[in-house]
Amino acid sequence: MKGEIYRVAGPVVTIMGIKPKMYDVVHVGNEGLMGEVIKIEGDKATVQVYEDTSGVKPGEPVVNTGMSLSVELGPGLLESIYDGIQRPLKVLQEQMGDFIQRGVTADGLDRERVWDFKAVASVGDVVEGGDVIGVVQETMNVEHKIMVPPTVSGTIKDVRSGDFKVDDTVCTLEDGTELSMVQKWPVRLPRPVTKKLMPTKPLITGQRILDGLFPVAKGGTAAIPGPFGSGKTVTQQQLAKWSDTDIVVYIGCGERGNEMADVLNEFPELQDPKTGRPLMERTVLIANTSNMPVAAREASVYTGITIAEYYRDMGYDVSLMADSTSRWAEAMREISSRLEEMPGEEGYPAYLSARLSEFYERAGCVHSLSGEEGSITVIGAVSPPGGDFSEPVTQNTLRIVKVFWALDAKLAQRRHFPSINWLTSYSLYTEGLSGWFGENVSPEWVSLRNNAMDMLQQESELQEIVQLVGSDALPENQQLILEICRMLREYFLQQNAFHPVDTYCSFDKQYKLLKSISTYGDKAMIALESGIPMSEILALESKDDLAKVKFEEDFDGVLNEVLAKMDKEFAKLGGN
């Protein structure tokens, strides 16, 4: 089927002469630029084109592929770096140099690479969608399960182990269907599951304020909104680095090229805290920077979540970071306005809310078709204009997600990192996860956490008084609360992402650190009540020593020394 171009206006091209279906991928123009049908009107159809359309003329040919935008799923996804429509950036560089030219197609998966396929199903087995027919060791620690595509079922006629390329046939069914290691899946369609489950395990991130105060569950959803410069990207990258998931999908959606370069440079060097292998071996990166075509940016989050779903179906815990969903929403707005659609709030299309919820709903803890338990945790950064959380993207996101990490420019300005505001943030998983914390961290953990939250709440109220009358006017026990909160903020909540030790803090360390601060608080309160002057309690050296324990390689050793010193110092003061 061949048609021709009727009109070109930036990334939106109107075609005529063919009858495509909605969301069909078409190639437009002499260079065959890739695009997707987004509107059909009479004999004309509107296409959003994923590449620059300069110089494209009316009358140039259009070819319909008849397929909707799909990704290739199979071994070789890990360690890859893709653009928004799954073209490997490395291949693009080899083919067209340092700048992205257009009209280049590239397979998502390397066709030449040979994999050692081990069949686990046998001839005569009856298989259906999701069943595992064999495995491939994709990277040192990730075993890639080759599954029957969700829409296929039958009896195996032939299956063999051996060295294969991704599109070689590894299995044949009685009805003649040939299965290879690669399957295609349309990105806008969620991959099917048997059942969705309630999330019960926390995603351990090694970030004290997140794990300690506002945990997200594996299979949960979280949003990080914040004005520019408040640390969204650093937080997202910390999560990508240290989350205890099996697979990480990181989508740089409309963000900075240099930051992506930094990620591309850093991830192969960093070690996975769980396995000690390079982080890249469990990571898929999707980089569609802000100056790359806007339609591909719109597609990039779907490409990412489809890849995440594929690994979830194998029974893995996957975390997906999207930085930033606001850029995705803006891409929708830009395309919508080129279509001259009636705008909703602030020019965003009226379907913004629906699209956002469809996307976040693809997260979750599930029983896959083959009965494996897997999860996708989605963490979306939001970049509200002017840092104003009342704008549509933030508000529509908050209606869906269960965890809200509110970044605060004021905190960032005083170099309090991560600059997550402990008063406005929340997590709806704290209740559900308290059982897990009691069992795996300490029975005391939940009460320690609640205490800390209480104190910080009190601090904010006391600060209001201090603003009016000065801190000296407060009674001594309240001054002590302020001091303990300062310790909580500086010793516990602040965490240096660039410090080799402090960048990741295990639950054990988090617990001990919080416990030590609480111990000091209790002892100080007793001392104060027995009449020891405030200035002497505050002057204890062990209190200041506690500040730097988190930076120590030998955390336990140093902490025990500090605690012993604290005991001695309090004993000297008397009262305890």
């Binding site: 009727y6 009109r7 070109v8 206006a9 620059d52 359309t53 300069s54 110089g55 494209v56 003329k57 009316p58 009358g59 140039e60 770096i81 950036l89 560089q93 140099g97 340092d98 700048f99 992205i100 030219q101 004005p227 410069g229 990207t233 409309g254 900075r256 090229g257 240099n258 930051e259 370069a261 440079n265 920077t289 802000s290 100056n291 790359m292 806007v294 803006e330 707005r333 830009e334 306005s337 705008p343 602030e346 020019g347 970049s383 002017g386 104003d388 420019a409 300005q413 005083r414 170099r415 009016l468 009358v469 000065g470 000296d472 006017a473 500086e490 660039f498 200041d544 500040a547 730097k548």
Partner: protein, 459 residues
């Protein structure tokens, strides 16, 4: 190719619409011959089989239905050559200095192509600007885009010029160039820049593009693209380290809004087009370093925030694209402090990769964080002092309050020609930090205190 159409059906603002053309490429360059013999240039914005819309760079004044339109068959290209250095060109690339036209070594599409993120080299070479508030607390690195967010009446031009004069990578002597693009600034401001370039000899190493306040607004849309194309050419074909100064981004965005309105587009926030983020990104993202190539493009744009409002769409969208910002403060300016850079809202995102042992000094980050924390708290305390008086503050708070004053007076304030090395900047930092009790220096590892604190440093 040279077919002339006289089929204009509508002229609206900077746009013309014409009918019955052969197929015309999107983004094609257009020449328009006026009845009086003059020629204007434009670009195709919307091309369909029936109607073609063209935006006219020099404005549509004098145009009528008799005017002839010629489509060039190619997108806008800039003739580039190493001989551009030392030349002054108009906002659309024509020589203004009376010199000969440039003999091109190549002709390059001004829209550029986006750099493959995989080819980018993470920027990490420290650039010393000689200004403490930048080097010490908001370090600039090669390949970064760091704009100055300023307001009207503030000395952002002086700061930009001081940076252009002083910026260098310590210990290196590599080829550098300055590309300066003026967008809608006044003749007087342009003169100020040109005189300084001439005085310091920088003009020989500079390419200047001038679109002044009375030049057509539409031309402003191509001016920065021309400048960046020239910069990329010098950087990636001639191995130069190019510093690009774009001023003023606000005028550029106004032109964008004007175009959007003329095209009757659905406006976004405050009437600016919904694609302004993408459009600005296509400028700002043209900075960086490429693996395996010697040159680099560093951007230092100037942006005046309307009403000093950092949440206005122009600074807001810019801040989401650029790698930080240097914020010029009216309050410090009123106090008579030069350069009036307020470090608190300022930020350099790439600072961490450009500082530290082997680049600047091992204690750099800790010192910077400590000063930020101290100054932020000190400024808060100033608010408190206004209510309760200094006496009501605790001893600790009084020391921090004094630190904030010292910070402004000794660290921020410097001379217009004072070129501080990074060592100077860090010594000033330690001098003022040593005025605080050591127990307050919680951001600094003990080993740095032992090594650098004036009270400990073994001579």
């Amino acid at each position: 190719m040279t077919k002339e159409y006289k089929t204009i059906t509508e002229i609206a603002g900077p746009l013309i619409f014409l009918e019955k053309t052969e197929p015309v490429g999107y983004g094609e360059l257009v020449h328009i011959n006026l009845p009086d013999g003059t020629t204007k240039r434009g670009q195709v914005l919307d091309s369909s089989a029936d109607v073609v819309a063209v935006q006219v760079f020099e404005g549509t004044g004098g145009l009528n239905e008799e005017s002839g339109v010629v489509f060039s068959g190619e997108t806008i290209k800039l003739p580039v050559s190493k001989d551009m250095l030392g030349r002054i060109l108009s906002g659309s690339g024509e020589p203004l200095d009376g010199g000969p036209s440039i003999i091109p070594e190549d002709r390059v599409d001004v829209n550029g192509a986006s750099m493959n993120p995989y080819s980018r080299m993470p920027p990490e070479d420290f650039i010393q600007t000689g200004i403490s508030t930048i080097d010490g607390t908001n370090t600039l690195v090669r390949g970064q885009k760091l704009p100055i967010f300023s307001g009207s009446g503030l000395p952002h031009n002086e700061i930009a010029l001081q940076i252009a004069r002083q910026a260098k990578v310590p210990g290196s002597d590599e080829d550098f160039a300055v590309v300066f693009a003026a967008m809608g600034i006044t003749n007087e401001e342009a003169q100020y820049f040109m005189q300084d370039f001439e005085k310091t000899g920088a003009l020989e190493r500079a390419v200047v593009f001038l679109n002044l306040a009375d030049d057509p607004a539409v031309e402003r849309i191509v001016t920065p693209r021309m400048a960046l194309t020239a910069a990329e050419y010098l950087a990636y074909e001639h191995d130069m380290h190019v510093l690009v100064i774009l001023t003023d981004i606000t005028n550029y965005c106004e032109a964008l809004r004007q175009m959007g309105a003329a095209r009757e587009e659905v406006p976004g926030r405050r009437g600016y087009p919904g694609y302004m983020y993408t459009d600005l990104a296509s400028l700002y993202e043209r900075a960086g370093v490429i693996k395996g190539l010697k040159g680099s493009v560093t951007q230092f744009s100037i942006l005046t925030m309307p009403g000093d409002d950092i949440t206005h769409p122009i600074p807001d969208l810019s801040g989401y694209i650029t790698e930080g910002q240097i914020v010029v403060s009216r309050e410090l300016h009123r106090k008579g402090i030069y350069p009036p850079i307020n470090v608190l809202p300022s930020l350099s995102r790439l600072m961490n990769s450009g500082i530290g042992d082997g680049k600047t000094r091992d204690d750099h980050k800790a010192v910077s964080d400590q000063m930020y924390a101290g100054y932020a708290e000190g400024r808060d305390l100033r608010g408190l002092v206004a209510i309760v008086g200094k006496e009501a503050l605790s001893e600790r708070d009084q020391r921090i309050l004094e630190f904030a004053d010292l910070f402004e007076d000794r660290f921020v304030r410097q001379g217009r020609d004072e070129n501080r090395t990074i060592e100077d900047t860090l010594s000033v930092s330690w001098e003022i930090l040593s005025e605080l009790p050591e127990s307050l220096l919680t951001r600094i590892d003990n080993k740095y205190i032992d090594k650098y604190h004036p009270a400990h440093k073994s001579n």
